[in-house]
């Protein structure tokens, strides 16, 4: 055909590394703000512990300010994880994604690689968050002379909940970021409709139907179990792990399937 040799597309690993760098550049302000918030939390927690330790009278102690870790805490970073894809795909909705789509990488692979790059930063951020929690706990426990989280209070698998929760949340939000012109509407709209519809059905005299609807969120394998380890019986160690694993697998697979489906999307004009 041509008198010069055909060029080859880039290796996936090169694209992935470049996407990790580019996405890192994109989210650096968000990351810096988050890191600042973690540091503020650490500062406040240590100051409170020091003050409590110095206080001799029990009524001055502020037990409510005791910073702790349970799987529920991942709800906080789960919400933040939802914002990340909006930031990553901002200015690149399907109508304006021609630069991304014009690169010599398969459309779906490229969208998923960019999503992967964001996930790498998300997991890094989650790890930093947990590292701050553990460090603060170690310092405050030392000050107060109590046992650390790592020593006693948290089961090994519970430390994984934040990572899986943010992953599911991030995948769902990425599906909106990749597939929708206005991802925020898709992130906020369906939950509002879901809750409103459930409440309306309950008020109209169909409480059982409303309850059935809400099991999608609060049921054995509902979103709350997957995203925050919530509503899991405290005293049933075996089933807790099983329910968390199953709900995570179910919601993770659903989110990944949705993302893969929308990642095949071309430019719309």
């Amino acid at each position: 055909m041509t008198s010069i040799p055909m060029h080859t597309p880039p290796r996936w690993s090169d694209v992935a590394v470049e996407q990790i760098r580019a996405v890192g550049l994109r989210v650096r302000v968000f990351g810096a703000l988050l890191f600042g918030a973690f540091m503020l939390y650490a500062f406040v927690a240590i100051r409170v512990a020091m003050r409590d330790h110095a206080a001799t009278e029990a009524h001055i102690r502020h037990s409510v300010t005791k910073f702790d870790f349970t799987p529920d805490i991942s709800i906080l970073i789960t919400y933040l994880a939802m914002l990340l894809p909006v930031l990553i795909w901002a200015e690149e909705n399907p109508k304006r994604r021609t630069y991304h789509l014009a690169m010599p990488v398969g459309r779906s692979v490229h969208a998923l690689t960019k999503t992967f790059a964001g996930w790498v930063w998300l997991i890094t951020g989650t790890a930093v968050f947990l590292a701050v929690v553990v460090s603060v706990d170690a310092v405050t426990s030392n000050i107060e002379g109590s046992a650390t989280l790592l020593a006693t209070r948290v089961a090994a698998w519970e430390w994984l909940v934040p990572f899986t929760a943010v992953t599911i949340s991030y995948l769902l939000a990425s599906a909106a970021g990749v597939g929708a012109q206005t991802p925020l509407i898709w992130l906020v709209g369906p939950p509002i409709i879901y809750v409103s519809a459930g409440m309306a059905i309950g008020l109209l005299g169909y409480p059982h139907l409303a309850e059935s609807m809400f099991t999608l969120f609060s049921g054995n394998y509902g979103a709350a179990a997957a995203l925050g380890g919530r509503f899991i019986a405290i005293d049933a160690a075996g089933p807790r792990v099983t329910r968390w694993l199953l709900s995570t697998a179910l919601w993770g697979a659903a989110a990944a399937t949705l993302l893969v489906a929308v990642s095949r999307r071309r430019a719309t004009s």
Partner: protein, 330 residues
């Protein structure tokens, strides 16, 4: 009757070929059975009015949008099946000026782009952005149209692709930079064996190095042929005609622009010159001259057929007087 305008270049070794390519955007037909044929090594100008389907054609060739029906081959590859490989071999300058990441600095965007093209020639890129005077530390979103366009040109050229697809590459550039850009393109083509598909409204800028032209209007290909053939075959004839001359339909659709008065005519006709002259003679018209058109006028004739006939009202008025000021005296 002279031959119709040619639309077939199938004898050549083709870098781009489409077959019955159609694209429907809801109720709007953007392309209708397009059979584009770009010869290998050609500098092919694809011209047409806004909304003719030029950019849609390019997007289908790069698999940015899917065709409704029809086929396309780019460098022997199917863009839908081998999309990544096709894009690895194409240097693309899109129509839109805000292409790329507005939040990224120009230098970082070029670095980002380079990592996607293993054949990126860093020395050449460096020479280009010195030549184009690109400010690498500025964010893309803050660049002027012309500055952004220059970054796009570097992105398209620096990996020395076998195929360049340039959609309005000089849009937004000032006259000096247009001249520079055309010089860069000429140098690039002479250094790197490349096929160029170039969509533009500024055809005269590229007349010096284009060698083929395709004319598209309302999603349909009106003509595609070598420029040399166009210059030889599309001529403007000025002739004297006897009073009451009735040769208005002498050449059918091959007469693209017809200005006729009681005593003379000024027609742009496609066909073999000898044959056209002979037909005029048989019909009683005496051809005074037949001149070849520059690319701009040829494009206007191909895109905008026109027929003006003035009878009796002012018999002394010559046909050339009826031309618009921009066309008169050419």
């Amino acid at each position: 009757m002279p031959a119709p305008l040619p639309t077939d270049l199938s004898g050549a070794d083709l870098a781009i070929v489409t077959g019955e390519l159609s694209k429907q955007y809801q109720s709007v037909a953007a392309l209708r059975d397009l059979a584009l044929q770009v010869p290998n090594g050609a500098v092919f100008l694809l011209v047409g009015p806004n909304g003719a389907g030029k950019s849609t054609t390019i997007k289908i060739l790069l698999d940015l949008v899917a065709p409704t029906s029809g086929t396309a081959r780019v460098l022997g590859l199917d863009p839908q099946r081998d999309s990544a490989l096709v894009r690895a071999n194409v240097g693309y300058v899109p129509e839109q000026l805000d292409w790329g990441y507005a939040w990224m600095r120009a230098g970082r965007l070029l670095e980002h782009h380079a990592r996607y093209f293993p054949s990126w020639d860093a020395d050449y890129a460096s020479r280009l952005f010195q030549l184009f005077d690109i400010r690498l530390d500025q964010k893309m979103g803050t660049l002027s149209k012309g500055q952004g366009r220059r970054v796009h040109l570097v992105m398209a050229l620096a990996h020395r692709p076998p195929l360049l697809v340039l959609d309005e590459p000089t849009d937004g550039l000032d006259p000096v930079m247009r001249d520079e850009t055309i010089g860069v393109l000429i140098d690039h083509i002479s250094d790197t064996p490349t096929t160029v598909l170039l969509c533009t409204h500024h055809v005269s800028e590229f007349e010096q190095f284009a060698d083929h032209i395709g004319v598209i209007k309302s999603g349909e290909l009106r003509a595609q042929l070598p420029l040399l053939a166009l210059k030889r075959g599309l001529l403007r004839y000025r002739a004297e005609v006897p009073p009451g001359w009735s040769g208005a339909n002498l050449f059918g659709d091959s007469a693209l622009r017809k200005i006729t008065t009681d005593r003379d005519l000024d027609w742009t006709v496609w066909g073999d010159e000898a044959e056209v002259r002979s037909k005029f003679a048989i019909a009683g018209a005496v051809v005074r001259d037949a001149v070849s058109l520059n690319l701009n006028d040829a494009t206007i004739a191909l895109l905008s057929p026109k027929e003006v006939s003035v009878r009796a009202a002012n018999p002394k008025r010559a046909a050339s007087d009826l031309l618009e000021p921009s066309e008169a005296g050419k």
